[in-house]
């Protein structure tokens, strides 16, 4: 059961007089009233109450309150999988650091400093996470505009070269936010690492080997790495700030573009947080359709992991075979949603369209074919001597690392911890289908490889079961819960029925009125636990939307594990952690 029980909360209240507890079916929190008590509370929670699995830390800005910033920790008990939120107000923008209790808090606190400008006692010399070192503003504060502060003229070079036309050839704003120079970037780079070895290699931002624009600095002694640092922020697009300015249903396409390899899974996590907040019940057919597509996207994402992982290690052909399978899944998604990659297929309250004719036959055929292709990939790599030499006993992640850094997904399962949100807090149709969770032993790259290969097989089984269930359903089952006041009705009803048209118009133009409250809900992405914390004050856009991104925390264990390994091991380890930059940077 996901949230902490009444007994646990009462026990905590008895140990600490100055905390305030609250529980509802979708939320359980304790509020610490004295700021300097927070270290003791966290230590007690970790050591005595066993809430040792660190999930998230974030900040909310309330400019009208006395102390402006509110910090929130999300912790999980890994033995009975209970979750708890700990709230504490900052005192004159300062808070004692939690990085000595949970190592994963280091990156979370850096992000909080970058976005809000708060300080942490005990975490000296905190550096910015996403923006460059000399950036003057703190973006997520409520007084900072979404478009930034346009301060320089930046005309379009195409217009200058082809000639200025009046009216202009394409419509754009001339004034632009400040673009950093190479010197700013170099200053950022130099401030991150003090050289102790022979040379500092930039495993740079624009590189074919990193899975996107991540920037690693390796301090090398020969071929061995003494220390590493990771510079993120090369794809920071400001999604959390965008969410504060849009209606809930308008934010849906942005969740696609975070983890662009498995778009439907991210959408599913978001859509179901809003549904829990507004108490929307989703019809059964929509649940099965969502599950089927989420599992197909999981296969999609793992195939890309396999292709690029093998490509980085030199097996050039597996990449193309994996993409051949991906094309088939993309055809399925394109036939149903209209888009191949970032399809906004789900809606709050259901799915966008009914299943297209023939989808189930194509999916059945795909699954049958997929089992034999999985055998082929296993034959190519699993027992290959060179593959074993490259991946066995490389990058071992222990269970303590998993708890401290907040690792989830196949990275945690490879180290032996069976933390899977589909089983802990079943959503969509996961409690109606039958599947297993593969768990590894040692926690090296080879284990994570085996875990993901087995997960692909399990996902295919889930898809088969969903197809069976969908075939048995009568043909005109509803796929959107259009009776709920907050849900936009499906298009065919909007064009044919007057009341639905009026409702659709009202919601699209003025936004929904989601009730006041807060919620944290997460789903199982192929990479880990993708969580959404929504704080709503009753308006049509969220007051604060926090995206707990799995790739961000998964990547934070990289500098620790890679010490004393070689560069080639770094490539293999990064492939097995499988981060997606759209999600780490949001």
């Amino acid at each position: 059961m996901p949230w902490a029980s009444e007994e646990t909360l009462n026990r905590i209240k008895r140990s600490f007089r100055t905390v305030d507890v609250y529980k509802s079916p979708h939320f359980a929190r304790i509020s610490v009233e004295n700021t300097h008590d927070i270290t003791n509370v966290l230590k007690h929670l970790k050591d005595v109450e066993d809430f040792r699995y660190f999930i998230d830390f974030h900040v909310i800005d309330f400019p009208k309150e006395k102390e402006r910033f509110l910090g929130q920790y999300i912790l999980v008990n890994p033995y009975n999988f209970e979750r708890l939120v700990v709230k504490v107000w900052f005192k004159s923008n300062k808070l004692p650091t939690a990085k000595n209790i949970f190592a994963g808090a280091k990156w979370a606190e850096r992000e909080a400093y970058d976005m809000f400008g708060v300080e942490f006692e005990g975490h000296e010399d905190v550096k910015r996470m996403f923006m460059w070192e000399d950036y003057k503003h703190f973006p997520l504060r409520k007084d900072f505009p979404l478009g930034g502060i346009p301060e320089q003229r930046l005309p379009s070079l195409t217009e200058l070269i082809e000639g200025n036309t009046l009216p202009p050839s394409h419509d754009y704003e001339l004034m632009h936010t400040y673009v950093p120079t190479i010197q700013d970037i170099e200053k950022t780079e130099k401030s991150r690492i003090t050289k102790r070895g022979q040379l500092v290699l930039n495993w740079g931002p624009l590189h074919p080997g990193t899975h996107g624009t991540m920037w690693f600095l390796f301090d090398l002694e020969g071929e061995h790495i003494i220390q590493t640092d990771v510079i993120l922020g090369q794809l920071h697009r400001g999604m959390e700030k965008i969410a504060e300015n849009l209606h809930y249903f308008q934010f849906l396409p942005y969740t696609d573009r975070m983890d662009y390899l498995s778009a439907v899974c991210s959408e599913l996590s978001y859509v179901q947080s809003v549904e829990k907040l507004a108490n929307i019940e989703v019809p059964l057919k929509a649940k099965y359709i969502r599950t089927m597509f989420a599992e197909l996207q999981r296969i999609n994402s793992h195939l890309l992991w396999l292709g690029t992982g093998a490509l980085d290690l030199g097996a050039l052909t597996v990449f193309l075979y994996a993409f051949r399978e991906r094309e088939k899944i993309m055809d399925l998604i394109e036939g149903n949603a209209g888009f191949r990659l970032t399809s906004a297929f789900l809606r709050i309250g259901g799915v966008h369209y009914d299943l297209a004719k023939g989808t189930l036959e194509v999916a059945k055929h795909f699954v049958k074919d997929f089992y034999s292709k999985l055998k082929e990939y296993n034959g190519l790599l699993t027992r290959n001597r060179i593959w074993l030499k490259r991946t066995k006993d490389v990058g071992i992640i222990t269970q303590e690392d998993v708890y401290q850094y907040g690792l989830t997904g196949p990275v945690a399962r490879g180290s032996g911890i069976s933390y899977d949100m589909r089983k802990i807090d079943p959503y969509a149709a996961y409690d109606l289908v039958d599947f297993d969770i593969p768990v590894g032993d040692v926690g090296d790259v080879y284990d994570r490889y085996l875990v993901r290969m087995e997960e692909m097989y399990q996902s295919a089984k889930i898809v088969e079961q969903c197809i069976e269930a969908l075939e048995k359903m009568p043909p005109n089952e509803p796929y959107v819960n259009k009776k709920h006041p907050v849900v936009i009705p499906p298009k065919e009803d909007v064009f044919n029925d007057l009341e639905d048209m009026v409702k659709s118009f009202r919601i699209v133009v003025h936004g929904e009125n989601i009730p006041k409250g807060e919620i944290y809900s997460s789903g199982e992405n192929p990479r880990g636990e993708l969580g959404f914390y929504i704080h709503s004050i009753g308006k049509s856009s969220p007051y604060r939307l926090r995206i707990r991104s799995c790739s961000f925390y998964n990547l934070s264990v990289f500098p620790k594990v890679i010490e004393k390994h070689t560069i080639s091991d770094a490539v293999a380890l990064l492939g097995s952690i499988d981060p997606v930059v759209g999600e780490t940077d949001r």
């Binding site: 996403f130 923006m131 503003h137 973006p139 900072f144 979404l146 478009g147 930034g148 502060i149 003229r153 930046l154 005309p155 379009s156 070079l157 195409t158 200058l160 070269i161 394409h170 754009y172 704003e173 632009h176 936010t177 400040y178 673009v179 950093p180 120079t181 190479i182 700013d184 970037i185 740079g204 931002p205 624009l206 074919p208 996107g212 624009t213 922020g233 090369q234 794809l235 920071h236 697009r237 400001g238 700030k241 965008i242 396409p253 942005y254 573009r257 662009y260 890309l304 990449f319 193309l320 993409f323 051949r324 991906r326 094309e327 993309m330 191949r340 990659l341 970032t342 930059v581 759209g582």
Partner: protein, 177 residues
């Protein structure tokens, strides 16, 4: 059509033709994938929509490439690095801006996004879409090949030189970049 050039000798025209044939049939892109459009670029290079048929090999080093396909959102922080990559490519070079984010900022009008890569790099072909399908990317590449054929490479470089003389220097290096 090849002979109707303004007053060029026959020999120059044929050499131009030959060079532009060579250049447009062996376009080597740099593998700079920033975000979601990079996945569609990988799909365009995979088995179904193979761009190797057109002669394109993806080279990892910008010094060995001709075409910079900017696939994905360009963030303010990355802009100077991208400009550095562009400067490292030897002439003749072209730039394709793939997708909505690279063309004009896409759906991200925020404090951190560069609103269009054409503010720092001169773009030759814009491909709309979010992301454009691989068929769209191949169409954009074919349009670039048509541009190389029609603009007669030496003419194009001379035109660029002329325009460069008229622009103030801070525009050329990109303001602050």
């Amino acid at each position: 059509m090849a002979s109707s050039i303004n007053g060029n000798g026959f020999i120059t025209t044929t050499v131009d033709e030959l060079l532009s044939w060579g250049r447009r049939n062996a376009l080597w892109p740099v593998t700079i994938g920033l975000a979601c459009c990079a996945i569609e670029m990988m799909h365009a290079a995979a088995s179904r929509f193979d761009v190797d048929r057109l002669g394109m090999i993806f080279r990892a080093s910008p010094r060995q490439a001709d075409v910079l396909i900017v696939a994905g959102t360009v963030v303010n922080k990355v802009a100077p690095m991208l400009k550095l990559v562009w400067d490292q490519m030897p002439e003749p070079k072209w730039c394709i801006s793939m997708g909505g984010c690279a063309s004009a900022g896409g759906p991200f009008p925020t404090y951190a996004t560069l609103q269009g890569v054409d503010r720092i790099i001169p773009v030759d072909v814009y491909i709309p879409g979010c992301p454009p399908t691989p068929q769209g990317l191949i169409y954009g590449l074919l349009e670039l090949q048509r541009k190389i054929r029609e603009k007669k490479v030496t003419r194009y470089e001379k035109a660029f030189e002329e325009f460069k003389k008229e622009l103030p220097p801070e525009i050329l290096t990109g303001a602050g970049v």
